[in-house]
Symmetry: C2
Subunit: 300 residues, 2 copies
């Protein structure tokens, strides 16, 4: 299709990232959203978008279907299951995959979409819900240039930084996987630092404040460190990104490492830490609360 | 003693950090240095300092003895062994401990120095050799205010940032231990990111450049990441900080965690990674070369 400066976009999945993306897109393009939860669809309608009862219905009039679902299984079902996107999306229509599902899974979807006459643009996102609603995301793309150009207006509406990693679907996922490796390890390292500060009788706020700017600093220490301290107050941190997201993503990281035969001992340790947190009932809590499995609020 | 604005300083240990500190101090104070290696003493003399054949001889005319040795064992020997500092340092003279040896070891030295009529200021340093020679170090102090004031001119000459953590010797070591936990984990995480990028066929320079500024960023990714890439060229990175320093420091980190009953799974994984690197003959190499045990230059 020729580059369409006002494409009709179907957004599949109106969760923590999907809803703010759909809402922000609706300020520039016709948008139809689908989510299993009617309440999420109502929120999009209130924000000026349209809604549909199935992915197929959402995609029927669309040029582009943007997937913002949780994982590979949900993506497969939304595209190829009963009432799936590919049953109605017009020939040559483009699917934008914003979810983090890993490179192999993205390539598998790409191959199946080629068979149905559609195109995949692998475009995993980073930045969180607030930035998603402001068009301020980091998007890393794996796609042929021709495919990318078709959806460039949509991605430009969502991204403040768009990096094209390579021409193959899966290349964006590969870089996002490395991003999640570092993010997940750095959050866990910040948790160890806060836990050790508490264990040694130091003021963890002073420790985080002193170390965040120096050679020990990381984005996550500066961002999650102060939220970890909230876990020891009566006002625990607002849930911005859930622990079970890192259970999923560190699973992708270590799986990708295993397939590529690259040892990742720290990522594996961080994965276990998120699993421990989830096993202790914290899956739906903010990822900063992982600190409490290392240093509970009340220590024995 | 009253605050002395031009104290005579004995510097014990003229290694990678001790020599540039002694040289920079010699621009402001009388300095006498000791090192086992005559060649290191000669370098200090060439830079305007004095030299001595034993720690005792160096400390004989000194108000302050600054220790820049490798570990607890060397510190004990330099202070209390044959020809040690305490045999000559005047009553009430202050020992500044700049080495990273852990809080318990610092408290042990403090107790022994109290028995010999001397004072310990726990003041571990960060910043590397170049900054050591420019008075641009980060120094974290554990000391009573009265003791600190006695050596404040010396520390101010060396530090661009001086943080007083608490009044007890060992408090500075505690914060430095947490600093090393984060630094050691972040270097290892950067190594995993570079290794995974190579394993997935991505350009690691693009990966480091893209991720260093975002949510996956850390000081170490920005600093050591590019030096890790040099490991795959004909010009490996200059040795700025050796791998065996992190073998020592991650040993302190995990030991302190064990004593405090704080689980540190990532620090433990990083410790093993540095031990693997050392076991493979890399102990004296730059710490950025730890990446090569995850991803050798020539892969099978």
């Amino acid at each position: 299709m020729p580059q369409n400066t006002s494409p009709h976009v179907a957004v599949i999945g109106l969760g923590a990232m999907g809803l703010p993306m759909a809402t922000h897109l609706a300020g520039a393009f016709p948008v139809t959203g689908f989510d299993i939860a009617q309440a999420r669809r109502d929120l999009l309608v209130a924000a000026g978008g349209g809604q549909a009862g199935t992915p197929a219905e959402a995609a029927a009039a669309a040029d582009v279907a943007l997937l913002a679902v949780r994982d590979h299984e949900q993506a497969s079902a939304a595209l190829f299951g009963e009432g799936g996107v590919t049953s109605t999306l017009r020939p040559g229509g483009v699917v934008i995959l914003t979810s983090t599902i890993g490179p192999d899974a993205a390539r598998e979807l790409h191959a199946r979409l080629q068979a149905t006459g559609h195109v995949l643009v692998d475009a995993p996102i980073s930045g969180g819900p607030v930035r998603a609603g402001q068009g301020d995301l980091l998007i890393v793309v794996g796609a042929e240039d021709a495919a990318l150009q078709q959806v460039r207006p949509v991605l430009d509406r969502l991204a403040s930084t768009l990096t094209v990693v390579g021409p193959r679907p899966g290349d964006g996922q590969a870089l996002k996987t490395i991003n999640q490796l570092l993010a997940g390890v750095h959050i866990a390292a910040a948790a160890e630092a806060v836990a050790l500060a508490r264990g040694l009788g130091l003021d963890p706020a002073v420790v985080v404040g002193t170390l965040a700017q120096g050679a020990a600093g990381s984005f996550m220490l500066g961002d999650r460190g102060p939220r970890m301290l909230q876990a020891y107050t009566d006002e625990p941190a607002e849930v911005k990104s859930r622990i079970d997201i890192f259970v999923k993503d560190m699973g992708i990281v270590t799986g990708v490492g295993r397939e590529a035969h690259v040892p990742l001992p720290l990522a594996a340790a961080a994965q276990q830490l998120y699993l421990i947190a989830e096993a202790n009932g914290l899956g739906a809590q903010d990822d900063s609360t992982v600190v409490t499995v290392l240093s509970p609020a009340t220590r024995p």
